[in-house]
Symmetry: D2
Subunit: 233 residues, 4 copies
C-alpha cells in the first residue's frame, strides 16, 4: 500500500514548512506548492518525503495542471492543507483595490481552485481532509485590516460551505482560526521586542492540524482557534 | 440650504427602488446607480427627486467619474446606500470560479470603490451614512451558497472594518442582514406557491434603513437583521 | 379605543426612565416596574401616563400578581421592554456564587417570568412586542465580567428562543446590544474624566427601541447593537 | 513522580465514562463525580484508575469538600473535565422557571464552584486544564430549547471569561461544542430509527478532548465543535 499524499499550497516558512514536517513524520508523501521556486526548495530541504511544485494558486489552469502532476507522481491527494495567504494590512485609506483583489484571490479563489482539483480523487476514495489556515480576521473586520479581513472572511465562508456540503460525503473540511503571529525568522526580526511567548509556534499549530485529520467521522471539528497562552483576546 | 443627497448603487426593482422612494419622500435628492440604462430608468420613473447614473460599480474609474458627476449635479453625497449585489447560487460543484469572482466584485469591491468615492465629501462635512444591504449569507456559509456567501461574508467584513474606522470620524456605517426573499414581481413569479407572509416587503426594509440613518451619534447601530415574522431561523 | 400599554421592568434612571418618556410621548400608558418604591416614584415623576409598580422580577408569584394588576388597571400589555439588570463586575476571583446567581435571576429568570405573564394577552391580541436591553457581554465573556457576562449570555439566548418561537405567532421579540456606558448622574460621577461622547444617551437608545416596535411584521429585527460613535470595538 | 489527576464532574454513561477511560489509559488517576452513587459506581466499573465521589456540583460547600478529598486521596487536580449537564427541553410554554434554574445551576454554577475548587492547586502548579462539554445550544437559542440553551449560553460565556483570565496564568480553558446526540444505550433506545452515523461516539469526543489537553501553551484552542459527519448544520 502506498503512503497517503498531503498537498500544501502556501508552503512557505512558518506554517507551510511545519505542516510538511509533521505530515512527513507521519508517513505522508508531501506536495509543497508555492509561487516561487526558492520558497518550495527551502521548505523541501531536508524533507525526503517532500516534493516541490511551483504554481500560482490563483490561476485555475495552473492549479489543475499541478494537481494532475501530483496525482501522477505521488498519488491521489488524501489531505489538502490550504495555507496560501496574502497579507495586505491597512485601513481603507491605506489599501488599494488591487490589494483587496490580490488578497481575495490568494485566500479564497485559490481555495476554490484547489478544492475543485482534489475533489474527484477524494470522492473516488470516499474520504479526504481539507484544513484551511484561517485567522482572527476570518471572523472580525478590524479597522486596520480592511484588505486582509474581507479576504479571510470570504475564505472562512467558503470553507463553511464546503464543510456543510462535503461532510456527508465523507470529506472532512476544517479551519484553524490562528489568533496571533506565527514565529518565523522574519516576524521575530520585525518585532524584536516581543517575548517568545508572544508568538505562536508553527510546529504546535501543525500538531493540532494533524490531530484534526485523525478525528473519526463520528466527531469532526469544523472550526478551532489557536492562540498563544499569553494573548489578550 | 440644498437638500441632502443619497446615492444608491444597485438601484434595481425591490430594495433599490424602495430606498429611493423612502429617501425621496424625506426630501433627499437621490442618485440611482445601476449597470443598465433600463434599470435606472425604471427605478427613477415617477420619482421627481431621482436622477439616474449608469455605472458598473466594479470598475473603479467609472465609479470615480460617476460620483464626480453626482457631486457636480446634485451636491456632495451625505448617504450611501450600497445595494449592489450579484446572486450566484449553487454548491461548489455548481458554481464556477468566474461566478465567485463576479459575486465578490459586485458585493465587496464595489463597496470599496464607492466608499473611497464618497469619503472625501463625508470627511469634509464631518458626517455621513453608509448602509449596506447584507444577507443571512453574510454570516453563514450554506452548502448551496458557495459562490454567494463568500462574497457577502467579505462585504460584511469590509463594512465592519469601515464602521470601526469611520465611526470616530463621525461617519456612520451599518449593515442590514436581510434574512429572506424580498418581494418583487420576479421573486413572486419564481415562487408562486409562497404566501405573502413568506416575503420581505422592500418598503419595510427601506423604512428601517431610513430610521438607522436618523440615529444620533451617541447610539449608532452597526448591524441589524430583518426577516418576515413567519420565517424559521 | 384605549391607548396601548407598555410595561418596563427595570424602570430606573437611565434607560428605564427614557423608555417610559418615549413611549408615553407616543401615547402609551406606561407601567414602571422596579424593586424599590423610590425608584418607581422617581422614574414616574412628571410623566402623567406612567404608573408605578413595586415588584421583584425574580419572584414568579409577584410578577404574576403585578401583571394582573397592570392588566386590570391599564389594560393588556402590548409592549414589554425588559430592562431589569444587575451588574456584578469582576473576575472569577472577585465575584461570588451568589453574585452569579443574582445576576442570572434578574437578567434571565425575570425575563422568563415577565414573558410568561404577558404572553396570554399578546396571544389573545395576536400581536405584541418584547424588547430586551442586552449588552456587549451578551455575546462576549470578558475576563473581568465573569458574573455579569454569563447572565447576559443566558438572557440573550432566552430572547433568541422566544423570538424564534413567538415570531410566527405575530409577537416580535428583539434585543438591543448596548455597547458602552449609558449616561446617568451616577455613571457620569463615577467616570468624571470621560467626555460626553464616551457615553450612550438613554433617549437615543429609547428612540431606537421605539422604532424597532414600529417595524411591520414583514421585516422584523431581532438584534441590533448600539454604541457611541467614538467607541473602539 | 505521582500520576496526574483528572476530575470529571458529570461522570455518567456517555461522555463522562468515555473521558474517564481515555484519561485513565493515558496514566491519569481519575476522580469520577456524580450526584448518585450508582452512576459513579457504574462509570468506575472496570477502571482501576478511577475513584468515585458522590457530590451535587450545584452545592458549593459539597464541591469544596469533594475536591479537598480528591486532593488528599489522589493528589492535586491537573485537569478538570466539566461534563455535568441537565437537559430540560421544550419551548417557553413547556418549561417551568424551576427547569431553567436547575439547568443553569448544573451547567453554569457548578462550573463556577468546581473552577474555584481547583484553581488554588492549578495556580500553585502554574499549569492546568479545564475543558467544558458544551453544545450547539451554547451558541444558539432554538425555539424548543428555551430552558436548555440559556444555561449552555451562560456556561459558554463563563468558560470564555475563565479562558481569557486564566490563559496568561498558564491554565488552559477550552470548550467542546458538541453538535448532535451522543450514542448511549438510552439515546439509542429513544431514537431507534436513527442510523449509527446519526450519533456522536463518546470515545471519539474523549479522544479530541484529550488531544486538546496535549496542546503546548504556544497554540491553545478555546473552542472546537464536534459533529458526526452526516449532520446537517
Amino acid at each position: 500500500m502506498s503512503p497517503p499524499v498531503c498537498a500544501i499550497p502556501g508552503a512557505g516558512p512558518g506554517n507551510g514548512r511545519a505542516l510538511a514536517r509533521r505530515f512527513a513524520a507521519a508517513g505522508y508523501r508531501v506536495a509543497l506548492i508555492a509561487r516561487r521556486d526558492e520558497t518550495v526548495a527551502a521548505s523541501a530541504e531536508g524533507l525526503g518525503a517532500a516534493h516541490g511544485y511551483v504554481c500560482d494558486v490563483t490561476d485555475g489552469a495552473a492549479v489543475e495542471a499541478t494537481f494532475k502532476a501530483i496525482a501522477a507522481e505521488l498519488g491521489p491527494v488524501e489531505t489538502l492543507l490550504y495555507n496560501a495567504g496574502n497579507a495586505v494590512f491597512g485601513s481603507v485609506d491605506e489599501v488599494e483595490a488591487a490589494d483587496l483583489e490580490a488578497a481575495w484571490r490568494t485566500n479564497t479563489l485559490g481555495l476554490f481552485h484547489c478544492t475543485r482539483a482534489v475533489l474527484p480523487g477524494m470522492r473516488a476514495a470516499g474520504a479526504g481532509h481539507i484544513v484551511v489556515s484561517g485567522a482572527t480576521a476570518s471572523r472580525k473586520g478590524g479597522a486596520r485590516f480592511a484588505g486582509f479581513a474581507q479576504a479571510k472572511a470570504a475564505q472562512y465562508s467558503l470553507a463553511q460551505s464546503l464543510a456543510r456540503q462535503l461532510g456527508p460525503e465523507g470529506i472532512h473540511v476544517a479551519i484553524a482560526i490562528i489568533d496571533g503571529v506565527v514565529a518565523t525568522p522574519r516576524t521575530r526580526e520585525m518585532m524584536p521586542d516581543r517575548p517568545d511567548t508572544f508568538f505562536l509556534d508553527a510546529d504546535a499549530i501543525a500538531e493540532s492540524v494533524y490531530q484534526i485529520t485523525r478525528q473519526p467521522p463520528s466527531a469532526w471539528t469544523f472550526e478551532f482557534d489557536l492562540r498563544p497562552f499569553g494573548e489578550r483576546w
